[in-house]
């Protein structure tokens, strides 16, 4: 690889673009200038820190530290899933369902890809395991959050329809079937759109990064295809699991719709 090394002052030069944008938003009274600058600062600090963590992790390379890093990423992703929902299940259920679904999908797809497709030695080599898991978790998180948000919103908005179907003797699964399918579609749409547009409308970030870092385009493309496929599988299975578990939790053992199990952001004592 023959990447051109980037120094910090070159990054500072790039940050001038963000500052110019912030100046424009101030001038246009958009009210997002401060958020933009804080977000840019967070990006720089968070990525610099994760760079240090990854370097240390690559140096140690033990399964324990890789697993611990994976666990931390999973828990943060679970927290993020909850934060993105307008209505969430009380008592930490949204967190538990989101985290479990991502664990089932993202972790299993990552391990399967490492062992059966890429085959590094050892299979948990952090240089492959952590970026792959990060990509999968990030995308699965989006799918799970979108799916759960759509499902809980539908349960509240369409309570009359679901209860009327229950009154007619339909099972809980029949009564909310349409809303469950709608939620699963919502979770899957971003990755379907991304796959359909890849290479035509957009050059995916990972591939672009690899090419910029000096990889041959043919190799970068192969990795990108692999990543797209694993993200699709991870997102799909994660969304399926999360929507299935959450929809069951919206009904009790007597198959009664329990919208009282939902609370709005800010009223969930588990997270406030």
């Amino acid at each position: 690889m023959n990447a051109i090394a980037l120094s910090w002052w070159q990054l500072a030069l790039a940050s001038c673009l963000v500052m110019a944008l912030a100046a424009c938003t101030f001038a246009a009274h958009l009210g997002v200038g401060k958020s933009l600058l804080i977000a840019a600062l967070r990006t720089a600090i968070q990525l610099a820190l994760i760079g240090l963590v990854l370097e240390a992790l690559f140096a140690v390379g033990s399964l324990f530290w890789v697993a611990l890093m994976g666990l931390a990423m999973l828990l943060l992703a679970g927290r993020e899933v909850v934060a993105r929902q307008k209505y969430r299940l009380r008592g930490g259920w949204s967190f538990a369902i989101g985290t479990l679904s991502m664990f089932i999908s993202a972790f299993s797809v990552t391990v399967l890809t490492l062992v059966a497709v890429i085959g590094p030695e050892p299979w948990y080599q952090p240089q492959y395991a952590i970026p792959l898991l990060g990509m999968l978790l990030g995308n699965t998180m989006t799918g799970v959050a979108l799916g759960l948000d759509r499902l809980t919103e539908s349960a509240r908005r369409s309570r009359n329809i679901i209860e009327n179907r229950l009154m007619l003797g339909e099972t809980w699964s029949e009564a909310c079937g349409d809303f469950r399918r709608e939620a699963m579609r919502a979770g899957l749409m971003p990755i379907i759109n991304a796959m359909a547009a890849a290479g035509i409308v957009s050059l995916p970030g990972m591939m672009t990064g690899q090419i910029l870092a000096g990889s041959p385009p043919a190799l970068a493309v192969k990795y990108q295809i692999l990543i797209m496929f694993t993200i699709a599988a991870g997102t799909g299975f994660g969304t399926f699991a999360a929507v299935a578990l959450c929809s069951r939790r919206l009904f009790d053992r007597r198959e009664r719709l329990r919208v009282d199990r939902l609370t709005t952001a800010g009223h969930d004592r588990f997270f406030t």
Binding site: M167, G169, D178
Partner: protein, 199 residues
């Protein structure tokens, strides 16, 4: 056919409600708005957690899955919901006689639900419920959106169907005249109790 039995049922402000409805009998419930009439029906249909026991003959509510109980003990809400595009898709079996009896044309099954008036929805919701052949009917103000003539038409039809099928019925109503026309027994909710009113 079995009778509907409520034993010590408690939900919301209502406490220890006892009531029995025989097959083919219509029992009317009345009371001020917010007294808990609809919630009592919801408890009987097992749509909300509640105290006490509800039985259909010897069969207790908790001994069968929720959906089977509701298939048998069916509530028709005051405001019905519709989720498919056409009326026909909501009926579980063709109901030509019922549709005709309530003044609908034969092509009503093809109608889009978006063109239905509130009164049409109310009548069609009754037909939809009966197309499931329930053992008990819980009717929450089934004629609230209807004019006087259509109200009588629906009452006559419901009475004939209930007697023919020999089903117990709990009927929430506000109009004293209607209660007198359809039911022999009438209970009124006062505070947390259910009081039988003698005419």
């Amino acid at each position: 056919m079995a009778k509907l039995i409520l034993h010590q049922v408690s939900i919301g402000t209502l406490q220890n409600i006892n009531l029995e409805v025989a097959p083919g009998e219509i029992v009317c419930l009345s009371g001020p708005s917010g007294a808990g009439k609809s919630r009592l029906l919801r408890a009987v249909a097992d749509l909300e957690p509640h105290g006490g026991t509800v039985k259909l003959g010897n069969l207790a509510q908790g001994l069968v899955p929720g959906h089977r109980w509701r298939r048998s003990v069916m509530m028709v809400p005051a405001e019905s919901a519709w989720w498919f595009d056409t009326v026909g898709e909501h009926l579980y079996k063709p109901m030509p006689k019922a549709l005709h009896a309530l003044g609908f044309d034969e092509d009503v099954s093809e109608w889009s639900v978006s063109r239905l008036s509130s009164g049409e929805k109310q009548r069609l919701a009754l037909i939809r419920a009966l197309s499931r052949e329930p053992d008990v009917l819980l009717l929450d103000e089934p004629t609230a959106n209807l004019d006087e003539k259509t109200t009588r038409q629906v009452e006559d039809w419901l009475i004939s169907v209930i007697h023919a099928r020999n089903r117990p019925v709990l009927w929430v109503a506000h109009s004293r005249e209607q209660i007198r026309r359809v039911a022999k027994r009438h209970f009124c909710i006062e505070g947390s109790k259910l009081l039988e009113l003698q005419e």
